[in-house]
């Protein structure tokens, strides 16, 4: 990876300022994200957590917003504009920045559904041809390379993302997610989203 001035500034900030570095001294690009995603990148309302997310995944999503490939309603409303003037290097720097912030689980799912969600996550539902999420996203939903971390994301965000694939949004996402999400029954989506919101 090419190390730019921004990356160096970001790394310096993280090493001196700790987990909450997006204050007054943060570059404009970072502050433009943290208005919605929170100064610690833990997400807020409709904006998902970015802290601890895989940097290749964040970078790919930013480019998908920029290119209008990720076309979910909130993406069109917020992120298409936010990513309109983003160049590839800034996308990469932002992705690295947020990936290095420590994540914090949203803990906002339905507690009673977590056990069912965990079983789906680890074993899938072979009877209706659902593969286990863990095969790609890892035993602790930590993600790997450009495969996103799911652990600790908010219930509402996870539920919405899975539902919207079934409705045809973001159909050009890398396979197999659009197809798998489309096969998940609504109550199983709720169980999965609940479980994942508690994973740390």
């Amino acid at each position: 990876m090419r190390i730019t001035g921004l990356t160096i500034a970001i790394l310096a900030m993280i090493s001196t300022a700790g987990p909450s570095p997006a204050g007054d001294g943060a570059p404009t690009w970072v502050r433009n994200c943290t208005w919605c995603h929170g100064t610690s990148g833990h997400g807020y309302a409709n904006a998902p957590e970015l802290a601890g997310q895989r940097h290749q995944y964040i970078e790919n999503q930013l480019l998908d917003f920029h290119n209008h490939v990720r076309d979910n309603p909130f993406s069109q409303q917020y992120m298409w504009g936010a990513a309109a003037n983003l160049n590839a290097q800034t996308a990469r720097d932002l992705a690295v920045y947020f990936s290095l912030l420590p994540p914090k689980p949203a803990n906002d799912g339905v507690g009673e559904l977590a056990a069912i969600g965990r079983e789906i996550y680890l074993e899938g539902i072979p009877e209706i041809n659902i593969v286990p999420c863990a095969a790609c996203h890892g035993p602790n939903a930590e993600g790997v390379r450009d495969i996103p971390r799911l652990g600790g994301l908010s219930y509402a965000y996870l539920k919405r993302r899975l539902e919207q694939w079934g409705q045809g949004y973001h159909a050009a996402a890398p396979p197999p997610m659009p197809r798998i999400a489309g096969k998940l029954p609504p109550d199983q989506i709720e169980a999965l989203a609940s479980y994942l919101s508690f994973v740390r």
């Binding site: 074993e123 041809n129 286990p132 197999p176």
Partner: protein, 226 residues
């Protein structure tokens, strides 16, 4: 030529069996018992089950790098695929993984045969990915073995083009990371059920004798082989 047409006949016979089984379930079982529903879903859903397999093993069965490395299935011998599916179901392969491989790979014997026939017929380009500087060494070990270390030529059993035959798997085009992992962990992943006689024992002494560098070289060579 003769072998090819025999394979075609076999595949047709397997498909015919699967389809007639589906018809039987539909006509003879009007009830909605859980067993009947499950049977109908499975027999009626060869295409859906093939999609389920490719959700992890790649759209054309070429393999996929997730958190786990999912092996290439395309062009694999049907006997080998059926044997592995049975090994997972009987918990003699990778039984300590965080995923319940027996449940995930649990298919009826008819569906095992249908999936094996399906992936046999696919031929996507290999993903590759092994270090290119090892190809020469890898090919030499594959073709000639390492006589001074008592390691036989891989080609002797897996064939000069690594296409395998019957229960001996095709290795051509297999993912680099997968071949490395299998040869490194052979004892811990295969033949884990003492109750079941397992052909994987043939590979145990060979996998043990190979050094990490030799494993890498063989895996790199196979990862690009069409």
């Amino acid at each position: 030529m003769r072998v090819t047409s025999l394979r075609f006949v076999l595949r047709a016979a397997i498909l015919a069996t699967v389809l007639s089984a589906a018809a039987r379930v539909d006509s003879a079982e009007p009830g909605h018992s859980r067993q009947a529903l499950a049977a109908r879903t499975e027999h009626g859903g060869v295409a859906a089950k093939a999609e389920y397999c490719t959700d992890c093993h790649g759209p054309s069965g070429q393999g996929y790098h997730g958190y786990l490395t999912m092996p290439r299935l395309a062009g694999q011998t049907p006997e080998y695929i059926e044997n592995q599916l049975r090994s997972f179901a009987e918990r003699s392969r990778e039984r300590d993984l965080f995923i319940n491989m027996g449940r995930v790979h649990g298919l009826s014997p008819d569906m095992r045969a249908a999936m094996a026939a399906h992936f046999r017929g696919l031929d996507p380009r290999p993903i590759g990915g092994g270090p290119r500087n090892l190809l020469g060494t890898g090919k030499r070990i594959y073709d000639e073995g390492i006589p001074e270390a008592n390691i036989p030529a891989c080609a002797a059993c897996h064939g000069p083009d690594a296409k395998g035959q019957e229960a001996i798997p095709r290795l051509a085009g297999q993912l680099y990371a997968y071949t490395v992992k299998e040869l490194t962990n052979w004892d811990r992943e295969r033949g884990q059920s003492p109750a079941r006689d397992d052909t994987s024992a043939v590979m145990t002494p060979i996998a043990r004798a190979l050094s990490p560098a030799q494993v890498s070289a063989i895996a790199a060579y196979l990862s690009y082989l069409r």
